[in-house]
C-alpha cells in the first residue's frame, strides 16, 4: 500500500472527561483510520496519567463552527443585556437570601 494512503488518515478531535460530574473538554486531535482506533489512540495519547474517565472522538470534518470573521458581532446580542444577570438588581441589598 502506498505512503499517500497511510498519510491521509482522517483527523479526529479528542474530548476527555476528567472525572465523573464534569463535561468532556477538548484535549487535541489525532489521526486514525477509523473511530475505534481513534478512541484507543486517544486513550494512549491523552490519558497516560489518569486524566480521563471517558473519551470522545469526533471527525474534525463533522464540526460546524461559528464564523470567525464575524468576530464579536455574532455574540453581540448578549452584550448590553445586563438585566439577564442577578447583579443588575440592587434594591434588595441588605435583604437576606436574595
Amino acid at each position: 500500500m502506498s505512503e499517500n494512503q497511510t498519510g491521509n488518515w482522517p483527523l479526529w478531535e479528542v474530548f476527555v472527561r476528567s472525572s465523573r460530574g464534569l463535561s468532556h473538554v477538548h484535549a487535541g486531535s489525532l489521526h486514525a483510520p477509523d473511530a475505534t482506533m481513534a478512541v484507543r489512540n486517544a486513550r494512549d495519547l491523552y490519558t497516560r496519567r489518569n486524566e480521563g474517565t471517558s473519551v470522545w472522538v469526533v471527525p474534525a470534518d463533522a464540526i460546524t463552527a461559528s464564523d470567525p470573521d464575524s468576530k464579536g458581532g455574532y455574540f453581540e446580542s448578549a452584550q448590553g443585556k445586563s438585566y439577564r444577570h442577578a447583579t443588575y438588581y440592587t434594591k434588595s441589598e441588605g435583604v437576606k437570601h436574595l
Partner: protein, 352 residues
C-alpha cells in the same frame, strides 16, 4: 469594478490585521480560524513543527538504554518517559496542523531532512549516567524554555505546552535521582555521573539558542508574544537553578568561570563553544546521520502497522455495511409481510 473590489479587499485586510494586532497588544490568544499575518503563521509552523520533530528524535538517545536499564523499575520509568516524548511530539503536531500544514507534509519534512530538530539530540548517550544527565539537564533546560511558552499567543501551542510541562517535571526529577543514586554509590559510579554531567552541561546551555546579539528572529517572536524571554535571559535563569542542584548532587559543573556575582545577583558562566553548536546544527554532530537514519528506518519498519490498521478499518467498515444491509433486508421482508396483512385487511374491508 476591479478597483472597487481591490479597495474592499484592502479595507477588509486592514480590519483583520487590526483585530490581530489588538489581540496581541491585549496579550490575548490567537485561535486557528482567526486571520493572522502569513509571516506569523509561517514562523509558528516552523517553530511548533521543529519542536515536534525534536520530541520524536529525542526518543532515540533514551530508547537506546531501555534494554540495558539496570532494574525493572528503571526500565518501566524509561519506557514511560520515551512514551511521553512520543506523546509530546503528537500534541505538538496536532497544534502545528491547526496552522494549515497537513501532518503528512510535516512528517515528510522531518524524514527528508528539510526540517531541523534540537541539536542536543545529536549527542550520543554513552552510559547509564547519561540517562540521568539528559533528564536533569536536557529536560531541565527544556522546561525552562517551555514554561513561558505556555503563554504563547497562539492558543493551540500554549495549550500543548501546558500539557507537556506537567509531564516534563517527572522527567527532570527522575534524571536528577539517577545522578543522585550514582553520585552516592561507588567511586566509579560517581565518576560516571560526573562524566555525563561534564558532557551534557555545555550542550544543555546551548539549547536556549545563540546569544541574543546573534539571534535575529527572536525580536519578532517577542513582538508576537510567542517568545517571552530572550535566549540569554532563559540561559541565565537555568544556570542559576542548576548550580545549587549540582551541589545537592555532590557533583561539579565543568565551567571554571562559573561563580556567583554578588553585584548582578546571578551566576557568571563561561563562554560556550558556538562553533561546535553551529557545526552540529549544520549536520556534523556526532549522531546527526545516525538519528536521521534511525528515524527513516523506524518509519519504514512501521509501514506494516499502518497498512494493517487501514486494512482492519476497511474490513470493519465492510462488515458493518454488510450487517446493515442484511438488517435492512430483514426489515424489508417484515414490512412486506405487514403490507400483505394490511392489504388483506383492506380487501376484507372493501369486500365488506
Amino acid at each position: 469594478m476591479t478597483e472597487q473590489t481591490t479597495t474592499a479587499d484592502q479595507a477588509a485586510t486592514t480590519a483583520e490585521q487590526q483585530h490581530f494586532e489588538h489581540l496581541i497588544s491585549e496579550d490575548s490568544r490567537v485561535e486557528p480560524r482567526d486571520w493572522m499575518p502569513e509571516a506569523y503563521r509561517k514562523s509558528l509552523t516552523r517553530q511548533v513543527s521543529q519542536h515536534a520533530h525534536s520530541e520524536i528524535i529525542g526518543m532515540q538517545p533514551e530508547a537506546n538504554w531501555i534494554t540495558r536499564a539496570p532494574s525493572l523499575k528503571r526500565k518501566a520509568v524509561l519506557m514511560a518517559k520515551v512514551q511521553d516524548e512520543a506523546g509530546h511530539g503528537l500534541y505538538l503536531y496536532s497544534a502545528a496542523e491547526t496552522l494549515g500544514t497537513p501532518r503528512s507534509v510535516l512528517n515528510e519534512q522531518l524524514l527528508s531532512g528539510k526540517a531541523k530538530y534540537s541539536s542536543i539530540f545529536n549527542y550520543p548517550a554513552r552510559t547509564w549516567a547519561d540517562m540521568g544527565a539528559i533528564g536533569w539537564l536536557v529536560d531541565g533546560a527544556a522546561i525552562c524554555n517551555q514554561v513561558p511558552l505556555c503563554r504563547a499567543s497562539y492558543g493551540p501551542y500554549g495549550r500543548a505546552m501546558v500539557r507537556i510541562c506537567k509531564e516534563e517535571s517527572f522527567h527532570q526529577r527522575q534524571g536528577w535521582e539517577i545522578l543522585y543514586e550514582l553520585s552516592h554509590g561507588t567511586e566509579a559510579q560517581k565518576q560516571m555521573a560526573q562524566d555525563a554531567v561534564n558532557r551534557f552541561y555545555g550542550p544543555a546551555l546551548q539549547m536556549f539558542g545563540p546569544p541574543d546579539a546573534d539571534s535575529p528572529n527572536s525580536q519578532q517572536s517577542m513582538q508576537w508574544n510567542i517568545k517571552r524571554f530572550s535566549n540569554d535571559e532563559l540561559r541565565q535563569r537555568f544556570v542559576d537553578m542548576i548550580v545549587p542542584q549540582a551541589e545537592a548532587l555532590g557533583l561539579t559543573l565543568p565551567d571554571p568561570d562559573l561563580k556567583w556575582n554578588e553585584e548582578r545577583g546571578h551566576y557568571d558562566y563561561g563562554q560556550l563553544d558556538w562553533d561546535e553548536f553551529m557545526s552540529v546544527i549544520k549536520g556534523s554532530g556526532p549522531c546527526n546521520v545516525q538519528r536521521m537514519k534511525r528515524r527513516r528506518e523506524a518509519h519504514a519498519q512501521g509501514a506494516w502497522v499502518r497498512e494493517a490498521a487501514e486494512a482492519y478499518a476497511q474490513r470493519q467498515a465492510r462488515e458493518a455495511a454488510e450487517a446493515a444491509a442484511a438488517a435492512s433486508a430483514t426489515d424489508a421482508e417484515a414490512t412486506e409481510e405487514f403490507t400483505v396483512v394490511a392489504g388483506r385487511g383492506s380487501a376484507e374491508l372493501i369486500g365488506a
